[in-house]
Symmetry: C2
Subunit: 350 residues, 2 copies
Amino acid sequence: MARQGSRSTSFDVAALAGVSQASVSRAFSGSASITEETRQRILEAARKLNYVPNSIASSLTTKRTNIVALILGNLGNPFYVHVLHRFSQKLQAQGRQVLTFTVDPGAESDEAILHLLKYQVDGVILAAAQLSTRMTSICHDRGIPIVLFNRYIPGSDASGVRCDNAAGGRLIAEAFLRAGARSFAMITGDPKGTTSQDRVRGFVERLLEEGIRRSDLIAIPGLSSYEGAAEATYETFAERKLPLPDALFGINDIMAMGAIDTLRYRMGVRVPEDLMVAGFDDIPEGRRLPYQLTTVQQPIEAMVDEALDILHLDDPSRPIERGIDRPIAGQLIMRATIAQPPPRPRRARR
Amino acid sequence: MARQGSRSTSFDVAALAGVSQASVSRAFSGSASITEETRQRILEAARKLNYVPNSIASSLTTKRTNIVALILGNLGNPFYVHVLHRFSQKLQAQGRQVLTFTVDPGAESDEAILHLLKYQVDGVILAAAQLSTRMTSICHDRGIPIVLFNRYIPGSDASGVRCDNAAGGRLIAEAFLRAGARSFAMITGDPKGTTSQDRVRGFVERLLEEGIRRSDLIAIPGLSSYEGAAEATYETFAERKLPLPDALFGINDIMAMGAIDTLRYRMGVRVPEDLMVAGFDDIPEGRRLPYQLTTVQQPIEAMVDEALDILHLDDPSRPIERGIDRPIAGQLIMRATIAQPPPRPRRARR
DNA sequence: GCCCGTCATGCATGCGTATTCATGTTTGCG
DNA sequence: CGCAAACATGAATACGCATGCATGACGGGC
């Protein structure tokens, strides 16, 4: 057995197999021309030595690391866990590695970017917070493509993939209106994030079109988390005693769930009988029996595919696609948190 | 602006700053001796060129990548999401990167290991499935330390960090008994995993000590997931119509939650009035209002620290610690899913 | 049977940085 | 003020692999 720390190189394998180091390289590259017989001899020698090619070294010459960076904020939102999972599966299946960064929600991703630049990653997937345009151009200048996931950054030429959040917000508003709601609350997420902004905007637009007055619409900051939404809900309706609206829109599912639990278990409010609720994302957790949350489904699969497509990892020579922002339509999923039949006339506010 | 793909090297910086490449290297290494003045000049030149040191290249000479591999199964269990988060935070704070692998639950990790060997990672954290002893020794021979998280592998000399699962299982049994339970069910996880085995063993041992008969104890395989546990619970008690026991032990919180929801919302069983439930892990989700799950807390923070300690990434020259298995005690967290006062005599079984 | 094309293989070099060794320079102390 | 020691710096080399180029072997077509 080799002593600790010893790692055999292609030279060791070459010596044992009686060939040159170049042949060893060719035996493992797969593409280069080499006789099947010598190839087998080399693989046999490699097996004996427990040889594993050093990707670090090969990256130095090929200028490809086969590493993709994934920057995540807010792992408290299961949506991003599923995103991580999907990307991980797809990339591993392609023989690529995932370098994961977590950044505090709300924090800049710039520092993370700086770190991964050092590792010469082949691409960056950003599913968190903000990114300065300076960082974007630094990456682009170095030939590293970036794709924003579930967000876009106005004025940036970073490409992005996202759900059509404004349209989704309208779908929710529509569903509430159809069920007879006339007064509303929204639990909002990161005020700097376009995702939350767009969902709110679409939602509000549709309501205003329908003649809902602004005074019948309140916004509650929910910090994009279960706990934040739960606390904000209690604070608003129990402590400050604002009247309950007919319907409450959680800008994402996890916040809607936090609100529902607080309403039901701390305040004795029935959902949907006393108050309708809807979320956004369609995380599997929202489908569970206690919630059966009405929501807008984000087509994760399609978004992930589209994101990888934009990175075009397979063809580094192709120029980086800049400024792409193709929103994908989300789909309304009616479940149990909106009363299906138009309900009886709801009590007047105040 | 540089054209796409251009990356300046230490030579470019050296030329601009009027020094040698060696000095540039020293300016960035932090430790080497260099005049503060020339250092500033170099940093200034580097800034102008958007120079970022190439970690890939430096790894080639230093034989350290500052990359740690994290292998995860079952991201559907929030426990491992929190594990990922903690490791990620700690390692990033140390200036290290996390290379994430996800493997299908139940699958071998061997292939993942093979991939990360190519990347010369400084250490491996395994929080998934099985690992062959062959892989362990390959890693160890190459000087790559491995630490198993929340599991151990009998006969392997890989070190591990885990909660004292058997003792935890006993704690749950004890709590059930104290509350007056005399018949029991367990929802078990991966039958090959020591984690599930140990929890079951401790739980059963304690019950048998108390004179509970084996016929008053059933085991239900729950696939380690919310959905698996939910389905298994329904299948067992609703379809096969086995009598409800007094108490049900979900081998982990997420399965306990799946069981609770099924009992309450598909079967009309009250928890804890009709049936007590406990879990294991103390995931934040189990603390939420609808569950308030009684459980055994795994000290994640301490386990993560211990795991990183075993890897001793700071001192690669220290020999790899083999075969360490220091179970850390878990703590019983009484919440609402076990009736606190000894309940009224429970109805007889059958 | 000869010539040229095809292919397997080896040699040599480059990728970007860290580090050793040698050299020149400054500092400290008597 | 002088000498040694500490220090700043540059030149050269190694890290492990991929690849362009050269060479030699082999085969096919006429």
